[in-house]
Amino acid sequence: MVTTDEKGPLTAKKKSVIIRSCDGDEFLVSESAAVLSTSLKKILEEKEDRLIHLSDIDNKTLAMVIAYLSTHADDGLSDDLKRSFDQEFVSGKEFDVLKYLVLATDTLQVTCLCYTVAKKMADIMKNKLVEWVRREFDIQNDYTPEAEAEIRRLDAWAWDDRQLEDD
């Protein structure tokens, strides 16, 4: 890594990037952290611009993603520490917070965090009732009662007392 950095065109000295959230907050991030996001990396490769505006990511979510990126860009931390950071990172977070996180990490292409968050969401969704999932995902049931009954009859095997059962 060190040799690549020394030879690389971008990192003659330690550079920083400013990232602005959709609600206008600005975050100063080291370039080594920013490039862990594939999307940000592409932008930085194409443009010399040091200010990146993310029109769809709010400041709360962005702050979390940046905390993640900075931790993972820290060469002083062991892989074990980073792994436990990842687990801590998602534990105890509201489903709603995770939704915005998974969206942001998908947009920014932070593969690792996107994986961790998606997995956590799946863990939470397990054994939840249909109505719970509809509520948390803000899904409006647009089936007619007949259509819903038909699906239940066809794929009856998919429902039992443990998964996605109705109230």
Partner: protein, 422 residues
């Protein structure tokens, strides 16, 4: 200034129709691809069940490239209710699937309660899964460039041979087989992309099966052999010119084989990491492992004569000539207090393992406080020339102070060496 937004780089649009439909949900910002990503962590049964949520979700699951079927998710009562068998369901899912590439195909056939076991042994469960079905599914997965296959057959109840077509899957990267039978000992094996092979309590039937399988894996990187089902093998030959990580666990403390003269031969010149648990030194022989960096060894309880034991152990340690990080655990049976019978015998000068000139860290897990243990620690500390750290774990609470005092006084061949008692 560069703007980046979810709409500009949304990568997972499935169809315009579904896109319009999604405007109903506030979560329309969440692309279908992300939903499928979340669903990929759940059993296929669950993702199919999400079809009930709304019209947008009806067939969203058909875009999930992960298939995960577990028989325990399909309870027997349900079969009677719906007249759909497990294989009907797998067939339906695989026919409806829209993805071009299947990332993972996972099939777990197991029972988790006696009622299910009883049911599965009856005639009517025939349609549950057959060799014919399995062959169809594996071929279907193959035609969609499957990368990971994970098959678990509880062979106590299901005697199904693995399909040969599995062993000529060009796209397969990761293969895990648990409790399976039917590893071919002849015929074509061609797994040109396979990087990781995990064999958990697989039945090999003949000595040639494993070497034959490995011969068809030209880029294999990691091999895990976690127990074997056979007891009649004479020679268990693990040979691969490419593997870098190897873990071998013999689950019954070295008594797997009926044949008392069985051999375990390991020939893996590129190995970097080697873990072996519960194998007897007198039965294992290693070709030189000159690339090896890290080894994790769990000794067996020896019943052999001390001298023979020491010879085998030294021969074994000699093979690990360049190891820098060594973990030894279960050095001796902790329950035994009969210390005089099983002494660590120091090797003569000329037989001193060359390992000791490269070793940097040693971890000893399960220090039994026997004379043998002390002698071994004394030997390593005195002779390991470049040792940086020795960790000793799980010392009995009562003995700890005594052990620390005693070992701290041992002469150290390496000045830099530090000791840690955990």
């Amino acid at each position: 200034m560069e703007k980046i937004s979810q709409t500009s780089i949304k990568r997972h649009k499935i169809s315009d129709e579904e896109q319009n439909m999604s405007s109903i949900d506030r979560f329309s910002g969440l692309p279908d691809g992300v939903i499928c990503h979340i669903l990929s962590f759940l059993p296929t049964k669950f993702s199919v069940a999400t079809g009930i949520l709304s019209r947008r979700w009806r067939f969203l699951w058909t875009h999930v490239p992960y298939l995960h079927f577990e028989t325990k998710d399909f309870k027997c009562e349900k079969h009677h209710d719906t007249e759909k068998s497990f294989s009907d369901i797998v067939n339906r899912v695989m026919l409806l699937l829209k993805v071009q590439i299947i990332n993972t195909f996972r099939l777990y056939c197991m029972y988790d309660d006696d009622e299910f076991k009883k049911w599965i042994t009856t005639a009517e469960s025939r349609s549950f899964c057959s060799e014919y079905q399995l062959e169809t599914w594996i071929n279907a997965a193959k035609s969609r460039s499957v990368q990971n296959i994970d098959i678990y057959f509880d062979c106590e109840i299901i005697e199904i041979n693995l399909s040969r077509c599995l062993f000529t899957c060009k796209t397969l990267v990761d293969l895990k087989l648990s409790f399976c039978i039917g590893i071919p000992s002849n015929g074509a094996i061609f797994l040109p992309s396979l990087k990781k092979l995990h064999l958990y309590l697989v039945e090999y039937k003949v000595d040639e099966a494993l070497p034959h399988l490995l011969s068809g894996c030209p880029v294999l990187d990691e091999l895990i052999i976690d127990g074997i089902m056979d007891r009649n093998l004479g020679c268990f030959n693990i040979s691969s010119p490419t593997i870098k990580r190897l873990s071998v666990y013999f689950s019954f403390g070295g008594s797997e084989f009926d044949n008392p003269d069985y051999r375990v031969k390991i020939n893996a010149p590129e190995l970097r990491y080697f873990q072996v648990h519960d194998c007897s030194y007198q039965h294992i022989s290693l070709s030189p492992l000159s690339s090896l960096i890290e080894a994790d060894i769990r000794l067996n309880d020896f019943e052999e004569e001390d001298y023979y034991y020491t010879c085998c152990l030294l021969k074994f340690l000699d093979s690990l000539c360049n190891v820098k990080c060594l973990k030894l655990s279960g050095v001796c049976n902790m329950d035994k207090v009969d210390v005089d019978e099983k002494n660590w015998m120091e090797p003569k000068e000329e037989r001193r393992a060359c390992l000791l000139y490269s070793l940097k860290t040693v971890t000893i897990d399960g220090f039994g406080c026997t004379k043998q243990d002390f002698n071994m620690v004394r030997f390593i500390l005195r002779n390991a020339q470049v040792l940086k750290r020795m960790e000793i774990h799980r010392i009995g609470v009562e003995e700890k102070i005594d052990v620390v005092q005693k070992i701290s006084l041992f002469h150290r061949g390496s000045r830099e060496c530090e000791l840690a008692f955990c």
